[in-house]
């Protein structure tokens, strides 16, 4: 990790700031904050916003092929929500003095990170179930924590998002349940999808605490209230019962219940795969960016029309 930019903070203000956070106070845009708090938030929130936007792509892949009109309407609404979530978080990020325009440009230029989970392909309809259930389920665990983040605009965006994510998770689990109770071929499709999405979902929480350089600072400043491993464990504990309820199994021969702690312990996570995908070598990294750039370029006429229309109205036409 690169050393943090050497900004000499006023020790009195820093102490006041940290005391306020320790007392569970909320920080608002105009409040004094250390430069590093601001830059960490911009990094984290913009990556989060980009993830929502790129997250539309794997599911958008199935809108035209949804198996019924009901499923199609649900999927359209879900994908629209993800776009909305991106906008909530970009709006929150802008309160830190950055411009959404620049953030979007960083994404299009391939300079910004987003969640690696979206660099995996959606090969079957069951993947739409797995994403809603596991990916949105993991996101809920993370975002429920972030809804208590010390930065007010981020926390408020998370409250709004969490309300909507519950529908996303439910509809995904309903798809998986339907398949798991269907024909042998449908059951096999559900299991095969779970096999592919299980480990990447666990990786969504990021590296183990010992390998997570930003975590201490983020916790001290109340941006994160729980560690990556704590959140991952919570997700596993919640999800295993749901897996069993529909007769599926997770692809982990080492999975074991720990009577003492009440936790489900998983086998080792393949961090080589995690870092490969983070560094750009996942199955769909290039495809996702190409699709985002194409969508931006194809939307140019809409932006031009909006400006032209506003100009004509302003001129009294």
């Amino acid at each position: 990790m690169p050393p943090s930019p050497a900004v000499a903070e006023d020790p009195v203000r820093l102490a006041e700031f940290e005391a306020r956070i320790a007392a569970d106070g909320s920080i608002e845009p105009k409040d004094w904050m250390p430069a590093r708090y601001r830059s960490q938030l911009v990094r984290m929130m913009s990556q989060h916003a980009h993830s929502e936007v790129v997250g539309m792509l794997p599911e958008g892949n199935w809108i035209t092929r949804a198996p019924s009109l009901r499923r199609k309407m649900i999927l359209l609404a879900k994908v629209q929500d993800e776009g909305g979530h991106g906008l909530y978080i970009y709006c929150g990020t802008e309160t830190l003095g950055v411009d959404r325009h620049d953030l979007v440009q960083q994404l299009l230029d391939g300079k910004a990170k987003y969640s690696s989970i979206f660099n995996y392909p959606t090969l079957t309809w069951a993947d739409i179930g797995a994403i809603g259930w596991l990916v949105d389920g993991a996101a809920i665990v993370n975002q429920t924590m972030l809804a208590k983040a010390s930065y007010g605009p981020y926390a408020r965006a998370m409250v709004r998002i969490c309300k909507e994510e519950n529908f996303h998770k439910r509809q995904g689990y309903e798809i998986m349940t339907t398949l798991a109770r269907g024909t042998p071929a449908q059951q096999a499709m559900a299991q095969e999808s779970l096999n592919r999405w299980w480990w990447p979902s666990l990786m969504m929480f990021g590296p183990h605490d010992a390998d997570s350089p930003n975590s201490d600072e983020l916790k001290r400043w109340g941006i994160k209230r729980k560690s990556n491993d704590e959140l991952r464990q919570r997700f596993v504990n919640l999800t295993i019962a749901q897996v069993k309820a529909i007769g599926l199994t997770v692809p982990d021969p080492d999975l074991a219940y720990d009577e003492a702690t009440g936790d489900w312990k998983t086998g080792p996570i393949d961090w080589d795969e995690f870092w490969r995908v983070v560094k750009g070598d996942g199955l769909c990294n290039k495809e996702r960016l190409d699709a985002r750039r194409a969508a931006h370029a194809e939307g140019a006429w809409v932006r031009e029309a909006a400006v032209a229309h506003a100009a004509r109205r302003a001129a009294g036409d």
Binding site: K30, Q80, G84, Y88, C91, R100, E164, A306, R313, A314
Partner: protein, 99 residues
Amino acid sequence: MTPASPEQPWPVWEVFIQPAAGDPHEHAGSVHAVDAEHALQNARDTYARRNEGVSLWVVPAAAITASTPEDMGPFFDPANDKAYRHPQFYKVPKGVKVF
């Protein structure tokens, strides 16, 4: 308010939403838009996809004047020494149970 070109950032509008008739409008977030009508449409699509409100206000962010955190002490100070504005300041005789 209209930007010169489509690729320039559009102005920011703050969005206020009234959850139900009789409630005050509350700040929901912001949108970018070329003009007020566009801002209202974007605000509806962004902040009211689930009947979250019955009324929306959009205000150019640049038009809002806000107090600053540095003001917080002195600006709100005059309220601190006027305890007599609160009902608890006054004693009611013991015999009076419901006032």
